[in-house]
């Protein structure tokens, strides 16, 4: 299994999902070898073997670099396709190019390559190098199925498939359309599309994502399977916290980016505060729209009732949920969305956007269109004003969340594996 991160060092939900899934797979007797770019050593390895790609030296077994390059040539997206060359010249150019590359690869991979494992500047380069190391691992290790999580690892997955000939499953946790809206990064899009085309099966985290995969990437619908994520709350305990403010608290928690729809939260807050002053709104998290959000709140003149906490870590997140009376996730596009489940687990009634994958699973959360600020404001008002409504949502919400188990999701994934063997 190729991933990019694994708890405890995570920057998003991907690592948590990988942990949940591997644990679930271990429970249904599937052994998982988890490859990640940069392991720290303190990962929980009770149900999974972790390989740190930074520890793999490529030069030893990759003796025949030419053969390796032939297999992974697809990685160089179109770089050998020089237009206006006749076949003879083309062969020459390609040969030259290959010889040069062999030299380069020996140079750069003669020693271990240190991956940062972060989402940073040289991401594309790291993605490519990760794929090369993946080829090396594919030669060394024994396995039956290759499973790659998100576009960062698709090149690695495809390389491993080319070298080993084993079936490939790719797992879409988010698409480029979720991350960037209409202005997609075509490089990322191409990687995603290539990964899914080469794969034998594609797992989508929700029907919403599945539809995007079919419609926007043109992937054969029969190849795409939906397996909803789950949550594991073994280690999270209820946090008791003394509240300092008398008002009810409505919370937004997540990255403050286009995808999460922070502006709809602010506009809805403005509407609610006009009618119901006995409430405070909190926007927890940080992101590229943070400063714009602060400005907007100041402009609306509600900043005495609208607070920003900045980025919250570990226990602070639990505290924030304990502080909250209502949780809102107005995501514009959310492939799955694990945070409403965390909120419900902490007995907080939630309002989620219909444009989220988790909306397909939940019955006891209020669902609205992300753009419908009137509906959001209405729901907040209702939950605040009519205690029966929030009581109901809390009680059934908790049952609902507790029924979402990774074991069940893992079983579905295992079925996908079986269909390929």
């Amino acid at each position: 299994m190729f991933g990019w991160e694994f708890p405890p060092h995570i920057s998003g939900g991907l690592g948590t999902a990988c942990q949940g899934l591997t644990t679930g797979l271990a429970n249904c007797e599937t052994e998982v070898l988890f490859v990640m770019p940069s392991a720290s050593g303190d990962e929980d390895q009770s149900s999974v073997n972790i390989i740190d790609a930074s520890d793999i030296e490529t030069s030893e077994t990759c003796r025949d670099v030419k053969e390796f390059l032939d297999k992974v040539q697809f990685i160089k997206i179109g770089s050998n396709l020089v237009p206006y060359l006749d076949p003879v010249l083309f062969t020459e150019v390609v040969t030259q190019e290959q010889e040069r590359e062999i030299e380069e690869f020996k140079l750069s991979l003669g020693e271990k390559y240190k991956f940062s494992g972060k989402y940073g500047k040289n991401l594309m380069e790291e993605v490519a190098r990760y794929a090369l190391v993946a080829g090396e691992i594919a030669l060394r290790e024994e396995f039956d199925i290759i499973h790659a999580h998100d576009w960062l690892t698709y090149m690695a997955g495809v390389t491993a498939k080319r070298i080993s000939g084993k079936p490939l499953v790719v797992h879409m946790h988010a698409t480029e359309f979720d991350r960037s809206g209409k202005n997609i990064n075509s490089e990322v899009y191409n990687l995603e599309k290539r990964g899914m085309s080469e794969a034998d099966k594609v797992i989508a985290v929700s029907n919403l994502t599945r539809n995007i995969i079919i419609n926007n990437y043109g992937i054969d619908p029969s190849k795409v399977v939906t397996v909803h994520n789950a949550v594991d709350f073994q280690d999270s305990k209820a946090v008791e916290i003394e509240r300092g403010v008398p008002e009810k608290i409505v919370t937004f928690l997540g990255r403050i980016t286009y995808q999460k729809g922070p502006e709809y939260f602010i506009e809805a807050a403005h509407k609610v505060l006009k009618r119901y002053p006995n409430v405070r709104f909190v926007m927890a998290g940080s992101g590229d729209l943070l400063n714009r959000s602060i400005k907007r709140v100041a402009k609306l003149g509600i900043s005495h009732k609208f607070h920003f906490t900045g980025f919250l870590r570990g226990r602070e997140v639990q505290e924030m949920f304990a502080y909250s009376d209502i949780y809102i996730m107005p995501s514009v596009s959310e492939p799955f969305g694990i945070s409403p489940l965390e909120a419900m687990q902490a007995n907080v009634p939630t309002i989620i956007s219909k444009q989220s994958g988790v909306a397909e699973l939940l019955n006891h959360a209020i669902k609205v269109d992300f753009w419908d600020i009137d509906a959001i404001a209405d729901s907040v008002y209702g939950l605040l004003k009519y205690p029966a409504l929030s009581k109901m949502a809390v009680k059934h919400g908790l049952d609902e969340v507790n029924s979402l188990k990774w074991d069940a999701a893992a079983l579905k994934v295992k079925q996908v594996y079986s269909s390929l063997l």
Binding site: E242, G244, P246, A298, K299, H307
Partner: protein, 421 residues
């Protein structure tokens, strides 16, 4: 006729706020960063206040009454001196005893109250005047507003409080072709005289003294005296107004700023026909030449010389209007601690930290700013203000409850009386 030169120094230190998080609202009553305040006070006292006061005392004794200087010390600075560096107060007292030093009145909390609330403005000025009289034995007769903020109406209010003169900026957009080197009067009440800062000469010392790329670097007292005698042959008064922290803090002692100051009186008295005087003396010695119309507030800050450094963007306007929206409620509380906190939250510095004018005067703003971004400054301030608003409202609520019970009793009585009838 003898011409006058006025050396006026502003002494101010804000109460810096501690990192006050959303979770602290309603739970933590203390808003100030004692450690930062203490260390900064200690540092500035050692680098500036103590050595500068010592030098001033020497000069006053040396020139035996012909070297005069003027100070205004904000109430918040006085409070912090008393708390952390009482020897600074003692050295100011020594200076006061020479009779060659005039202390001016200002707003106690270095606030912008003159722009929004005449009542609060008056209270703070009275409080400051009393404090100065108690410390230095003389009741101030001349007024200087926070950041030299002035307008026709502010001048009128000051004159109604019994002050005969006021200091402000010789802003170009107000003066036009007129020279700042004369005495002017308020446009509404001609009895209030105005002393205008000569910002070119003042800023040579305050901002450009140590700038090596400045064409006149290095600035010597000799050169400065020549400029005054040559350029101002027809003018009457030169007002050099600056932060006291210029000496030793903004301009490090190693730049020679203290040596400049040490030799300035000698050069001016020997090679020009200027004498040193304080604002009160100057107003007696010279006649005003014309009224000055200032319909919109001006100040001594930044290129614009207006109030946009404190009230120039949405964040600042929002924080400012929210703060003064509770003025009534604070007065009703009639609680010493609440009033104290209200005053401290009015300090102009808090709003200065939220300034987004990074381009022209960013360097100066950054120097004074404990926050990385104006957004952080705003969030922190609003968190503190939200907590403060809760505290202000609390006693009010108790009172409201008490009133309700009274009303009930009354209605009960009326009912019974009806029955009797």
């Amino acid at each position: 006729m003898e011409k006058s030169i006025c050396l006026y120094f502003q002494v101010h230190q804000p109460d810096r706020l501690r990192l006050y998080r959303f979770f602290d609202i309603g739970r933590e009553e203390y808003y100030y960063d004692d450690f930062a305040n203490k260390t900064i006070l200690r540092r500035v006292a050692d680098r500036c206040y103590l050595p500068a006061n010592k030098l001033m005392l020497e000069l006053i004794k040396k020139y035996n009454g012909s070297f005069k200087i003027t100070y205004s010390i904000s109430g918040t600075a006085i409070e912090q001196f008393q708390k952390y560096t009482p020897e600074v107060i003692e050295s100011f007292k020594e200076l006061a005893a020479t009779g060659c030093v005039e202390f001016l009145a200002e707003t106690y909390s270095h606030s912008l109250a003159s722009l929004i609330s005449e009542g609060e403005f008056k209270e703070q000025v009275e409080l400051h005047s009393k404090t100065i009289e108690a410390l230095f034995g003389v009741k101030p007769k001349v007024f200087r507003n926070t950041e030299l903020i002035y307008s026709d109406t502010i001048g009128e209010a000051v004159s109604n409080m019994g002050y005969s003169a006021m200091l402000t900026e010789g802003a170009k957009h107000i003066l036009g072709w007129k020279s700042p080197n004369y005495i002017y009067t308020n446009a509404i009440n001609p009895r209030l005289k105005l002393l205008l800062k000569n910002f070119v000469l003042s800023d040579h010392i305050a901002f450009r003294f140590s700038n090596r790329s400045w064409e006149h670097w290095p600035l010597t007292s000799d050169k400065f005296a020549t400029w005054i005698s040559e350029a101002l042959s027809n003018d009457e008064v030169v007002n050099l107004f600056m932060d006291y922290e210029t000496f030793g803090e903004h301009q490090d002692a190693s730049t020679g700023i203290f040596e400049f100051l040490r030799h300035l009186p000698e050069n001016i008295l020997s090679s020009t026909n200027f004498v040193f005087d304080t604002p009160s003396g100057i107003c007696k010695r010279h006649q005003p030449v014309a009224p000055l119309h200032v319909p919109f507030p001006i100040s001594w800050a930044d290129e614009e010389r207006d109030t946009s450094a404190w009230l120039g963007n949405e964040l600042q306007n929002e924080a400012f209007s929210k703060l003064y929206s509770i003025e009534e409620a604070v007065k009703k509380c009639d609680n010493k601690e609440i009033t104290n906190n209200f005053r401290k939250l009015q300090q102009s510095d808090h709003f200065y930290y939220m300034c987004t004018k990074f381009f022209s005067d960013g360097a100066v703003h950054k120097y004074f700013n404990p926050y990385d971004t104006p957004y952080e400054a705003f969030i922190n301030y609003m968190n503190v203000l939200s907590d403060f608003m809760l505290r202000v409202e609390k006693p009010k609520k108790e009172k409201a409850v008490a009133k309700k019970t009274v009303i009930k009793n009354k209605s009960g009585k009326t009912k019974t009386s009806k029955k009797i009838k």
